[in-house]
């Protein structure tokens, strides 16, 4: 079980929710583009104070519009971008057709989503901000990150026993 044979295709990996749809293999330095994009993303997280526990508290207490504005305008930008990609059949930089996998309904979206919401309000962070908080010098968040890894692992261990 430890070793998984190379799958014949990377088009759909049933085990992985983030399936790799590209046929082009990013190798070595090519992967740096994702690092750079991550850096820019992390800067936005900190500069807009999205990584702040207080901003998440304000959001859940309906005492500030900031987070609703951030998430709302991000979604609107995302919708417009994807519509443009589809309408004009924009390809990747390697000339591949852009492919967005459909999500299937699972009970986890309700139960898991609810559990994540509880944790989000406690930690003041979803997974992205956890990394940015650590980078910002809140090193104790490493413990939160390790706990999140433990949570992910426990889910994986019992995934087939949970209602799905």
């Amino acid at each position: 079980m430890m070793k998984v044979a190379e799958k014949p295709t990377t088009i759909q990996d049933p085990h992985c929710e983030a399936p790799n749809l590209r046929k082009h293999e990013d190798k070595g330095l090519e992967l740096l583009k994702y690092l750079i994009l991550g850096v820019l993303f992390g800067i936005v997280f900190v500069k807009a104070e999205i990584i702040s526990w207080f901003r998440i508290q304000e959001m859940f207490r309906l005492q500030s519009f900031h987070m609703y504005g951030v998430i709302g305008s991000a979604v609107v930008t995302g919708i417009i971008s994807i519509q443009i990609i589809k309408r004009f059949n924009i390809k990747t930089i390697h000339g591949e057709t852009i492919n967005i996998p459909n999500k299937e309904f699972r009970k986890g979206q309700v139960i898991g989503g609810f559990i994540f919401g509880l944790g989000w309000a406690l930690t003041g962070a979803c997974p992205g901000p956890l990394f940015a908080q650590i980078g910002s010098g809140y090193t104790v968040i490493l413990v939160t990150l390790i706990s999140a890894l433990a949570g992910t692992w426990v889910y994986g261990k019992f995934a087939d026993k949970l209602p799905n």
Binding site: E17, A18, D26, Y34, L35, I36, L37, G38, G42, I43, V46, K47, A48, E49, S52, F54, Q57, E58, F60, R61, Q63, S64, H66, V70, I71, A74, V75, V76, T77, G78, S81, I98, I100, F105, Q109, I111, G112, G113, I115, F116, G119, W120, A121, L122, C126, P127, G128, F131, A132, S136, G137, V140, V143, S147, A148, A150, T152, V154, Y155, G156
Partner: protein, 193 residues
């Protein structure tokens, strides 16, 4: 140039930050047919470090290296923004939130995260257990069970008009509202605030 730097060091308004975050969706699609999602990185770390023969972690995580590099970038971005582009003034928390949190025992409103909760001194205390260990566990368990987090569902999923992601996002919010308005006060009392 000075004016630009002054503008950058100020906290960025939502109408700047939100569209920039939204642009990550087409950027990842166009750069390499990747769908935006951050919580998957936690799964890839499990698959890389402690797969333990579990089917859920038995896949070629090396193919997902881009995702791990992306979150490493987020960490570096946090460092860069805090050390080179930092806001010279402290965060401004809304008055109403300050009043609510003061009533719960929070006293530090000068940092992005209150030192009353998020400090190493709290690690081996009930406070640390609640906010770091249990909170972190719920984030990791919940996002994976839900199949995504704020990025994968709320932003990527809704951007691609998938109702499952709307549903997940609604339950993120229900969980958050319940914790904030019902459970937080008794839990904070319980851990010694």
């Amino acid at each position: 140039m000075n004016q630009l730097m002054e503008w950058i060091t100020q906290p960025w308004p939502w109408y700047v930050a939100g569209p920039l975050i939204g642009l990550t969706v087409p950027a990842l699609l166009i750069l390499g047919n990747k769908t935006f999602g951050i919580s998957s990185s936690l799964r890839h770390v499990c698959a890389a470090c402690v797969p333990a023969g579990i089917p859920f972690f038995s896949y070629n995580w090396k193919k997902e290296m881009w995702n791990l590099l992306f979150v490493l970038g987020v960490l570096i971005g946090g460092f860069v923004a805090t050390n080179f582009l930092a806001n010279p003034d402290s965060i401004i928390v809304s008055e109403a939130t300050q009043a609510d949190l003061k009533a719960l025992g929070v006293t530090d409103f000068g940092n992005l995260l209150p030192a009353d909760i998020f400090s190493w001194e709290n690690l081996f205390t009930a406070k640390g257990l609640l906010f770091f260990v249990i909170g972190g566990f719920m984030v990791g368990f919940g996002t994976r069970y839900a199949g995504g987090c704020t990025s994968g569902h709320a932003i990527m999923g809704i951007s691609s008009l998938q109702w499952q992601s709307v549903l997940a996002t609604v339950f993120f919010m229900i969980g958050g509202f319940l914790m904030t308005h019902v459970l937080l006060e008794p839990l904070m009392k319980l851990v010694g605030f």
